[in-house]
Symmetry: none
Subunit: 499 residues, 2 copies
């Protein structure tokens, strides 16, 4: 077999796996958007058979043989081909080292976990959730052990979402961030100036839908290859050929829905920007969750909360919601957009205190994996950390440890990505501003294409060629650090609250 034909055959395998994965994603999207309440049993079985099918395709011994031949001929491959082969090897090893029975068990548990979480959260009943969480933690450790990370299970979970990242690196970054961020939050919240989000009440859902459609289209989301629907917890799934975003609506929290939607649009724009012809390989895949979050955060925060963005959209917002915005001044609206107020709920948090929510989860996950914290003691540990970092104590587990969906699916090691994304977003933002000093004037004219094209060229087009640390070096010229994020937060919030 020639190298060319081996590589072509590798692509056939990867394409097949990718198509099956997109089917599984669609089935998962449908579960959160459309599933009738008593159809969860069938859905769990569907997930299980898909996981098994994907596993069989991903562990096909022919794929292993092809990888070996291509690795032997590595010197004759082009750079891009080497990237594809290396990533396929990583996936192949991950897939082959997990027994089929384990994969089945985990898939079934994932669906069970979601429904158990939803039920436990609804009734703030942590006790009923304990066995599920213990099982998930056990499965995560088992998975790490199968992959040869037995002694570094948490690093495995982190690397899974953010290749190249580790608990030690994050510890250092988060430590540096925490040290400066806690006093910054104190300084802002001590200010007598307070955002009045309660001024924004009674925004009809149909108006919110129309406005967010206009905004997300303006930002560049291609609705001919995607859609937005409603789910309990907003998310973005699918491949760039068919992106499924979700949001949620609350008549008295129009900014919640708007910024959730902009956030998911940031994810969607990244996926739509990845090279379409290469979606099945590393050349067309996201670099990792940290980079993914840098995209959603950049659009949500650096763009969506800027003066320039509102210069363009405020008149449109007032037009859509004339009655609701009548008594609200421009300054009040802008302050509401940039409200800073510690809250118990991560997804309701402003972008300043949000990072403290992540630091909390990172510290707790470390202890869970180190075995220094038992699942049943989670509520207590959670509440203590919330008091230390946020100055608030949950009145029930519903607003505490039960608030997030992630662990119900075994997604440990995922939370840090959000804060890494915030750091990278800020660092990218100053890199862009250095190259396009007038970019905010473009926003004020309703033109976001300059930013989107810059991101397409510098971030999206690279696919998974570089991890977050390497991408930071190449695109921003510096090591990933919390300093740009701190600078950005000071520049945005101190003039508003502590001028």
């Amino acid at each position: 077999m020639t190298i060319e034909s081996a590589y072509a055959e590798l692509l056939t395998h990867l394409n097949r796996i990718h198509r099956l994965e997109t089917v599984a994603q669609l089935v998962g999207w449908d579960e959160q958007v459309n599933l009738p309440p008593d159809s969860a049993g069938l859905r769990a079985e569907q997930h299980a058979v898909l996981a098994e099918t994907i596993h069989a395709a991903a562990t096909n011994p022919k794929l292993g043989d092809l990888l070996e031949s291509l690795e032997d001929a590595s010197l004759d491959l082009r750079d891009d081909e080497r990237v594809v082969v290396a990533e396929a090897r990583r996936d192949y090893d991950r897939a082959t080292k997990l027994p089929a029975s384990f994969v089945r068990e985990k898939a079934a548990q994932s669906s069970v976990g979601y429904h158990a979480w939803a039920k436990a959260r609804a009734s703030s009943d942590f006790a009923s959730y304990v066995p599920v969480l213990e099982k998930n933690l056990e499965l995560a450790k088992q998975e790490a052990a199968y992959l040869g990370w037995g002694d570094r299970a948490y690093d495995y979970m982190i690397d899974k979402h953010d290749p190249g990242m580790s608990a030690a690196v994050i510890s250092k970054l988060f430590g540096e961030l925490k040290e400066a961020l806690v006093p910054l939050v104190r300084q802002i919240t001590a200010s007598p100036i307070k955002a009045k989000r309660e001024l924004l009440r009674g925004f009809p859902v149909t108006g919110q839908q129309a406005f967010l459609r206009e905004v997300t289209e303006k930002l560049g989301f291609n609705y001919r290859r995607g859609r937005i629907d409603v789910s309990l917890h907003p998310f973005c799934s699918g491949s760039g050929a068919d992106i499924r975003m979700t949001t949620r609506f609350n008549e008295d929290e129009p900014l919640d829905s708007l910024f959730s939607s902009i956030h998911e649009t940031g994810h969607g724009l990244y996926e739509q920007g990845l090279p379409l012809a290469h979606h099945a390989t590393a050349l067309g895949r996201a670099a990792g969750m940290g980079v993914h979050e840098s995209q959603s955060r950049l659009w949500e925060n650096q763009v969506g909360r800027s003066r320039a963005f509102w210069r363009y959209f405020e008149p449109r917002f007032r037009e859509t919601f004339a009655a609701q915005t009548q008594g609200v001044s421009s300054d009040e609206l802008y302050l509401a957009v940039n409200a800073v107020e510690p809250t118990l709920i991560r997804v309701d948090a402003d972008e300043v205190t949000y990072n403290l929510h992540i630091i909390l989860r990172f510290e707790i996950e470390q202890r869970l994996f180190a075995g220094t914290l038992a699942v049943r003691d989670l509520p207590e540990a959670w509440n203590a950390a919330a008091r230390e970092l946020l100055g608030l104590v949950p009145d029930s587990d519903r607003t505490g440890v039960l608030q997030d969906v992630h662990w119900s699916d075994g997604a440990f090691g995922y939370f840090p990505s959000y804060c890494l994304g915030n750091m990278l977003a800020a660092q990218l933002w100053y890199a862009i501003k250095a190259q396009r000093p007038a970019i905010e004037d473009e926003f004020a004219r309703g033109d976001f294409s300059g930013l989107l094209n810059w991101l397409r060229e510098n971030v999206h087009a690279a696919g998974k060629r570089y991890d977050a640390l390497e991408l930071s070096r190449r695109v921003t010229g510096g090591e990933l650090s919390p300093q740009s994020l701190l600078r950005y937060l000071r520049e945005r919030y101190l003039p508003l609250y502590c001028a």
Copy 2:
């Protein structure tokens, strides 16, 4: 291997195939309900990889070995187990006896056929469609030959949709029906009394949605295991654990949407009534398309067009649409529900003349397969039959031979199911009335549970144990015949039009 373990292993295979099929159905549902306009390419690839996966599972040689062992030990199987094995054998032979090259050719032709039909219909250009139809006919005959029905190709196509049925049986049934139905239609259409559906105009979609939700829930559809959405053409898919129905809305045709929805609800109730634990085997599968249609038709026609149904729902209908129904009398409303008017288009036909559309197609399909009618002569034969049966002649092939999608996909032998369903529905209806003489009083009180329970017990619970002919004998005590349908049509329509 013991019989018990061979049977258990057979069930594992069948369950896996069934779960994959439900995934493929969900992906198909999503395509018609949610797909973004430029995502069709990915969707086609997803369908292809699922079809390949299902085919691999259905042709697994281990499945063939299991079937052989179980057939050898047939005498030791319980009756139910024998039913399951026989049906699994039927499926296995269908999946394995067709050469891969033939399956590929047929799949490719199916796509070619659809587009050729759509194009030919749009421009009413039958000539361009001739080679496609000739090819489809040829492939159908080849398929029959591969399966050992070489000398009875049309019977094979019929049996594929309605096990146990044959052209000879249908010929006799349809002959008897035609003889009485043609004069009945003449009698009704000669009446000076005409339904005025144009009285019903401007019904807001939200009201229609609320009303059909109330109706379908009242009929017994379990929305905890299903939902209804909007698509271009109404359909019902999924298994009883998660039924996905669709409808469509037209503000000026509220009855179209309502009766489409009741029709799909009939299909949905059948699927929801099939034994949940046995969905993957013959014990929990629909008996065939004729029986399926008997369920949708019974709810749509015998129930939905009855006086008793409207006695209960008319006040609700008027409450929901007060302005729109103000000038419409009860008699006018009921006559609109039971409008009879010959039309050229099958899908627009009322329940009386609908059967003539099917008889027309059956007669033509018989001649096509017998070789006594050439494809190129179809328009002439179609138009002659339309004149004879409906008293109407298409002004173009668009409203004649080109109106249906079925043949473009090679789905010959499918049409008869619709009319067989009508016959069986009427026959079931009189059997129910004999056992529950007051059933219409129950309807008038808004209670449809007596009917649903009867159908569950007598039809749904049997799964695929009995074909339509045997089911008729067991449940109605008589051979399937057109007499009940004729009696029902006379009892419903003569008092309205010819009293």
